[in-house]
Structure formats: C-alpha cells, structure tokens
Symmetry: C2
Subunit: 360 residues, 2 copies
Amino acid sequence: MDDPGGTGRSDGRGTSAARPKRPTMSDVAARVGVSQALVSLVFRNQPGASADTRRRVFRAAEELGYRPDTAAQLLRRTRSRQLGVLFTMRQPHDVGVVEALYSAARKHGYTLVLNAMVDTRDERQAMDELLGLRCEAIITIGTTFERHHPATGVGGPFVVEINPLTRAAGTDVVRTAERNGMRQAVDHLVAQGHRAIAHIDGGTMPAADDRRRGYRAAMRRHGLADHIQVHPGDYTEESGARVARDLLARAELPTAVIAGNDRCAHGLLGTFLRAGVRVPEDVSIVGYDDSQLARLSFIDLTSVRQDAAEAADRAVRAAVERLDEGRTADRDIVLDPTLVVRGSTGPPRATSTPDGDPLR
Amino acid sequence: MDDPGGTGRSDGRGTSAARPKRPTMSDVAARVGVSQALVSLVFRNQPGASADTRRRVFRAAEELGYRPDTAAQLLRRTRSRQLGVLFTMRQPHDVGVVEALYSAARKHGYTLVLNAMVDTRDERQAMDELLGLRCEAIITIGTTFERHHPATGVGGPFVVEINPLTRAAGTDVVRTAERNGMRQAVDHLVAQGHRAIAHIDGGTMPAADDRRRGYRAAMRRHGLADHIQVHPGDYTEESGARVARDLLARAELPTAVIAGNDRCAHGLLGTFLRAGVRVPEDVSIVGYDDSQLARLSFIDLTSVRQDAAEAADRAVRAAVERLDEGRTADRDIVLDPTLVVRGSTGPPRATSTPDGDPLR
DNA sequence: CAGTACAACTAGTACGTACAAGTGCTACGT
DNA sequence: ACGTAGCACTTGTACGTACTAGTTGTACTG
C-alpha cells in the first residue's frame, strides 16, 4: 500500500517546495459532481453524456488545469495508436520526411514518437525505447534496420522502412525507383550533349547501390559505356569536395557529374567554384533528393526529386494497412522520382574540339 | 470488467491473425516460479534477490521476449525521470544540441522525449504531448516559449530554454554571451585592418537583438560608429543571398560582413563567389554558431562558436538542480563563445587607397 | 537456547484511465 | 396500466508496474 495515511503530501524528498499533484479525472468528476467514467466518456468524445454535462466537464477541467495522462491511457487502452520513428537528423531530406510524417500520422489518427539515432546511442537502444512505449509500428528513415532485433519476431511491432540500407524480409519498404531517377538524370545530360558523365556513388549509404547501377545502365543504354566513371564517395559534402579535388588534378574534367545526393553535390559544386571551375559552363552537376539545399538560389542544383511528403504518407498508410486492415503480406512501395532541372546543368563545354571559345 | 471469460483471445477486430499478447512481469515470474514483485526488483537492480535468481529471471525474460512496459512504469513510478525536448530541425546548430542532450540526460539518469515543432503543429500541441507523458521538465531549443501556456503556472513542469527568443520569468535560460561573441568577431576583423564592417542581423530570430547590439557596441568601441551598417535578414541562406545581391548593386562593398548565423553567411558567401567576388580577398565573412557548415573545406567560415554540447549539458544540469536539488530561483546561464578563425577572413582589400594590389 | 539480524522473498495495493455491464429515469406505444 | 426503448449516468475492474509492509528461513550473538 502506497503512502498510507497520506503522509506523502510532504514534497518528494526535498525537491521544490510542495509541488501540488496534478489533477486527475476523478478530481474533475468530483468538481462537476459526476463519476470518473463519465468524464472519461466526455474526453473521448463518446456518446452517453448530455451536451450540458460535456460543457461543465470541460469547464471544470480547464479550471483545475487537468490534462489526460498519456501513460495511463496507454496502459489501459487496447491500442496505443502510436507510431515510432527512428531517424538521424543528418540528411536534410530525412528531416523533411519526419516533418511530413506528423501530418500523415495525424490524418490516420496516430501519434508519432520520435527517436533520434545519435552516435552515442545504438539502434537497439532506440528501438527498445520505442517498443517500451507500445508503438504499434516503427518507421525507420534511411537507416539500417537490424533485422535480428529480438522484438522483430512474431508478435513484434510492424516495421516500415523508408529508403532503407538493405531490404529486409518481414517489413514493408518505401523507396525510390533509383534507376529511374538516374536514367532521368543521364537522359537530361545526354540530351544537352554530354557524353563524359561521371558519378560519385554513395558507398554504403542507403540506395547507393541502386543509384550506381542505374547510372551504369543508363550510360550503356546511350552507348556511353566507355565513359562510365564511378568515383567512391558517400552522402556528405566532404566526399564531394574530395572528388572535386581529385578531378581537378586530372588532365581533363568530365563535362558532367551526377552526385550521390545533394550534400555531395554541394561539396562538389563549392569546391569547383572555389577553384575557378564554372558551373554549368565548365561542368554540369546533378544532385539527388531535391532537398532545401538544391533550391537555394546560389546553389540552384538540378536534382532528382524524392517527394518527402509522399514517402511519409505511403509509409504511414503501409502501417495502417497492417494495423487496421489486416494485411500480412510484405509490401514494397516504389515511388517514381522526378528530375528537377535548375541552373547547375547546361550544354557541355567544347571538349578538345577545335571550335573556339568553350564558354557560353 | 474487461474480457470476461477470456473471449478476447480472438484477434482484435480483424487486425492481423492472432497477435500474441506481449509478456508481462507476471509471465516471467511464473516461468521462474517467483513473485512478480521479485522480478520487478531484479529489473530495477535493487537489492533483495540472490545472484542465482537474478540470472534465472533474466534468462526467462529473454526466452519470453519480455521487455518492461514504459507506460506502466511511468504510471506507477513516483518520478518519470523524463525530460521533454521542443525543437525545430531547421538549424544545424539545434540539431547538434539535440544530439548532445541525449548523453547529457543519460548522465543524470534521465530519458529524453523529443517533440519537433513543425509548421502544421503549434507549440501548444507539442507541449501538451510532452506534459501528457509526464515530463518533469521541458527543454526548448531556439524557440519562442509561450509563457502563458496553461500548464506553466505553479506546479507545472520546469522549463529550460536554450537560446530563446525572449527571456521569460519562471524559466531557466541557457544562452550565449552574444555581445562577447560579436566583440570577438569585430575585434578580429579590426585587428586585420578592417573598418567597413557590415552586419546582417537576424530580425526576429533568437538572440538576433543581442547580436546586433553587440555589433554596434563593438564598432563604437573601435571608433567605427560611422561604419556601422546593419542589413535586415534572418537565419536562412536566402537572406544572406539577398543581402549579397543588395551589396553588389552598390558602388562599394564593405570589406567585411558579419552574418547573423552560419546559414546566412553561407548564402552570402555562395552568392559572392558566384558573382566573382573573392572571399576573403575582396570581402571577409564571419558566421555565427560554428555549425558543421562552417567547417566544410570549401566554405571554411570564420565563425563564433557556440558549444552545443556545453549548452546541452548546462540545460540538463539546470533541470536537475530544480528537480533533484530543490533550487527554486531562476537561473540565467550565459556561455562564453569563442571565435574560430578560418579561411573566410583576411586582411581587407585596399579600398580606394592608392597603394597597389588590393589582393593578398 | 532464546533472541536478534539479515537475506530472500511474497502480499497487497495504488498509479490514472478505459471499457463492459449495469441502473435509474423518462417517454412512448399498445 | 404495463412493457420497452433509449438516454444519461454509475459501478466495478483491469491494464502492468513500483513500492510498502510483511513473512519466512537461516545464521549468528551472548
């Protein structure tokens, strides 16, 4: 028995002076003169209370400063209607997805529980927190989901992965048609007259494999197999900067470069500009993600757009299908990207052709 | 009475086939042949169980796939030991603070509950979620905290604001000594020989007022009151880009510009470079925050460093002082920034002085 | 050998809410 | 007049855990 006799009204072990207990439904009920259950009905907006009573309940609640206790609700409810979100805050595109998830979840009557993956916390730990909070499904963004997590077995929560590193059985996946995106990028450049089109790949980053394959395939389709040129990199600015320096040290630059993502393209662009290489006059650059970065006026990057809002929406819908509509088969949702043409691409410079000024 | 007779073992309203209920402490206890209370002891690492029993409990828990239910813990526990975090994901510096908060909180035995402020959700709503989850204190990062939130009164949770928009009574504040930072920036430029030093202010952004005042004071201290030049802006790249265009349209550029933050400096820098203005040869640029952006090799921005880790640590400590050590007086914690000198600042070009090559 | 101390447990309840199953009461039809 | 709805409400638990107050059993003290 806790606190027999009410001795505990003294403030908890010397923390601030006598913090009053937060009011409960029963307090509200007592003030109105009804039962706790009725207050519960009112707050859940269920039928069974008169309009007048509803008003009085809300008024009393406001006067007392009552607010429902999520912990108790979670414990008692059959469903938590919570979706866990595992994300890093490093990629601007991911941030957009998180933002979009809020509205997508709300539309379906779910609440989000965020959990950032930071260097000092591994995914396991983050997952445990989400599971402890009774999330019914977990949405991961651009991260490796550890398939062998003990809770992932039968009866565990459903998992939806947005742009995962690798595809896992037993989970739904929302991803971009990377080869399609790459094809559009290459097509666009080829249409402008480019032939020497290089690619900075994303190494072990999510979707990097598919993008690289898409680049290769598209180049071959245009008969440019000989011009295929893949530079190892990742999804950071510095990898783009490094490749830029490597390229500058060579005899001849490619006329166009498709980066693994916008951040990488940014590093490439910035380093080129610093070195006096003009974009797009000397080199065209294409990014990937169409993040905020690409849209900045002084960057103005042609980029393969992945719609964050759509990805978020589809991910939530996938979760809802499993949770509310009984789907059990895995789904692989592939979204088509669109190339957004901006100022970082243009016709190629005249490479080693003897026709005068290579500039626009 | 719920589910009398156990009929509810049929799966909940046609969701996926028969999801097994998650195991509880009692299930673990039954398997080991002890009481639920003992399992609770073991999981809380409290004395009162033999080493052998502990081992058996953990083994049984693992076999059953048991994990503690946070909702129930929260409900039962005297203290939630949770800190709510209100943040936007827009400023890179803020992201660093959130990351650092995780370790700072863990060091003091607290858990973080993240809540992003997105356009579609107001602060009120976010606060309500955090309060519903029994957060003992709330840490806001670079946001306006609505002082008049109903829960903020007596007995509400404590609030610690990191770099708030405005200082509020009844809350602790962790902020940067902005005037100090600005003074360092101006001193550095003056030492290099600059006199025409402009400032792009942050408008209504957090700390913008103090930075502007710091700039003015420092300029006056150097007898450069006549050179004070404040351009309105905010904390986005585009505001920097806009100011850059404005400046380019003038007869003469200032020899140095101190931006409101790194993102703004980035826009300024990028636009200048695009226009053929060299940095630092033609114009020196100083940023503010020393975010990741400033450190990129091709940006290499001299910037006023705000230590995210220290801010996070002090914020958590402020919360702990109130929660665990009974402090009741408000605290205003001011952290000294440090100027980090990089490649975006150098001696001024020779402005209209007749002494030859203005370049380095 | 009684008495005490301690370790290793168990019993019982409370946290704040949601849900199922009642209980009055009024209105209505036959 | 009697039965029957249906509304507006109440009663009673149960969710999974934490915490207080026991209750054993064993070893040790004087």
